[in-house]
Amino acid sequence: MATIQAAPAASRATIRDASRPLWRNPSLLMGATLLAIVAGLAIFAPLLTPYGPIDQDLLNAHKPPSWAHPFGTDNFGRDVLTRVLYGARIDLMIGLVPTAITFVTGVLLGAIAGYYGGKIDTILMRVVDVAVAFPFIVLLIAIIAMLGPGLRNMFIAIALVGWISYARIVRGEVLVARNAEYVLAAKTLGFGDARIIFGHVLPNVITPAIVFFMSDAVLNILLGTALSFLGLGPQAPTAEWGRMIQEGRQFIVSGEWWMTTIPGLAILVVGVAFSLIGDGLADLLRVEERV
């Protein structure tokens, strides 16, 4: 490793070229570990808890944390820990699925707009301008109001709006990269546009979009929980953190803090995990100097 470390700094590191050992990148390591733990808990939830996420036990409703229910029970006597574990499945999905969809479409559209320019670029960027002119959350609520509440429609709404950031990031980078000499060199070899865009331009400009993906995943989890807090996400009795907070909200005044605090903390942990990964990736993929 030491010899690779000595390689000239005037280069762009890439994932494949990542010469730094993982332990030198504590953010990435911690974030990835945290996320892996959360994902593991979500996947193995049935093995970790004797209760089901929607099993009601009205005799044991409103119970504070105890050995039988480490995080207490809610107003239907459902185990909060169990619901938080099962909820992680939905909330991780909210973090990853719409983000992945918007990443792919946004990067594609941004790359095409930036590379070809002209009319395609103008049309696409005007669409972006219009979409940006609306407050993000208001636009989302309007779309969900049209489609009806539910997890799937929430994904569709986020997918319809979220690609814009990626398109803008990538377009800007492609505008610079398309005039790079290596792109001209690829053209002189008779390479087609698709090969140049995907094989030569995108690998050079994708880094900021990847880093943004991680912050965007956090934003989407917060957005998803906010939407389901408003009742626009998955419907009862699905275990989902935002929904759990909303349902527990009315019992805060009577001192039953666990119904809201525990899912809130879960959101915090996942948010921190994604942020740390984003931070670590930015560091790992850092553009030392444009060659």
């Binding site: 280069s11 762009r12 002189t188 070899l189």
Partner: protein, 343 residues
């Protein structure tokens, strides 16, 4: 391949090439009526100052100019006009028939792809072979261009290569499609002098081994003198003199070529002062009337202001766009006598 007169048919014929760029300041005529032939297996030099249209000529040949450029004339590759060829046919030509190498090897390689991938990709694009075969060919190509330890180097990234080695990689990539013509646009300008010499020797060696034709663009007469058989001297978007390198450089017949040579330090000419050409190259937005060199020319007469000279034959295979040939010959004769008398 011969035509009726027994001469070798040229592989590439440029006929009255005109390339102009539409800019906010007006129309820039970067290439203005350039014609020359490139024969199979020769190195043809294109020399001139910065901004005289050398690179624009090259890029017009393979039609890789920005969208605000227009190109007229003919570029005949084995008799077929590339300027009217379809997009798909043109893609086949690029890299397959005509390849290009660039001035700055630092930026012409993709920084995030392994060198081997870049060479192999070029191989795959033009010879329908599999990935494994393409990598094997890439290895051969690196060996051909003289890169030491090619097995290891294939797996490295461009930043791990020096400038000279990168230029070798670019040459290997350019050769991947086994082109018949190589456009070398100032291939040694960004390199150290010692590396320049190595790269030039490599180009000459490859040209001989592979029998391809090379158009070598340079602003350096020494480079041209070193490797080319024939040369065209460009000034302000036009060719002002053209012929065998020896004739053109030993007995130039255009005042601009003479000026260029007089401004060069030569071996055994220590006593002589270098004579720069007075003035600066004209703006191509608004070029001078008549002969474009007349404002800087010591031979200029009234006629030069209003009439544009054609490329006139001044010797076997030697043309110069200047009608003051008598004055030039007389001046050359008197200096020769003067030199003899002082000796």
């Amino acid at each position: 391949m011969t035509n009726g007169s027994g001469e070798i048919a040229p592989i590439l014929q440029i006929r009255d090439l005109r390339t102009s760029f539409v800019t906010s300041a007006g129309i820039v005529r970067a290439v203005d009526g350039v014609s020359f032939d490139v024969r199979p297996g020769e190195i043809f030099g294109l020399v001139g100052e910065s901004g005289c249209g050398k690179s624009a000529t090259c890029r017009s040949i393979i039609r890789l100019l920005p969208s605000h450029a227009t190109t007229e004339g003919e570029v005949l590759l084995n008799g077929e006009d590339l300027l009217t060829a379809g997009a798909e046919a043109m893609r086949q030509v690029r890299g397959g028939e005509i390849s290009m190498i660039f001035q700055d090897p630092m930026s012409a390689l993709n920084p995030v792809l392994r060198v081997g991938e870049q060479v192999a990709e070029a191989v795959q694009a033009h010879r329908g072979v599999g990935r494994r075969a393409a990598w094997a060919r890439a290895l051969e190509l690196l060996r051909l261009v003289g890169i030491p330890a090619p097995e290891r180097r294939l797996r490295e990234y461009p930043y791990q290569f020096s400038g000279g080695m990168r230029q070798r990689v670019l040459i290997a990539i350019a050769l991947a499609g086994e082109p018949n013509v190589l456009l070398a646009d100032e291939p040694t300008t960004a390199l150290d002098v010692t590396i320049q010499d190595q790269i030039l020797k490599l180009i000459v060696r490859l040209q001989r081994e592979l029998g391809m034709s090379v158009i070598l663009v340079s602003h350096d007469l020494a480079v041209i003198a070193h490797v080319c058989q024939r040369v065209a001297v460009m000034y302000a978007g036009q060719i002002v003199e053209q012929g065998e390198v020896r004739t053109v450089l030993r007995a130039p017949r255009h005042p601009y070529t003479m000026g260029l040579l007089a401004s060069l330090p030569g071996i055994g000419a220590r006593e002589r002062y270098l004579q720069p050409i007075a003035g600066a190259p004209p703006s191509l937005l608004d070029p001078p009337s008549g002969c474009r060199f007349h404002p800087r020319c010591t031979y200029a007469v009234e006629q030069c202001r209003s009439w544009t000279p054609e490329l006139l034959p001044v010797g076997p295979g030697h043309g110069a766009a200047c009608w003051r040939q008598d004055a030039i010959r007389a001046r050359v004769e008197t200096t020769r006598i003067a030199v003899r008398e002082t000796a």
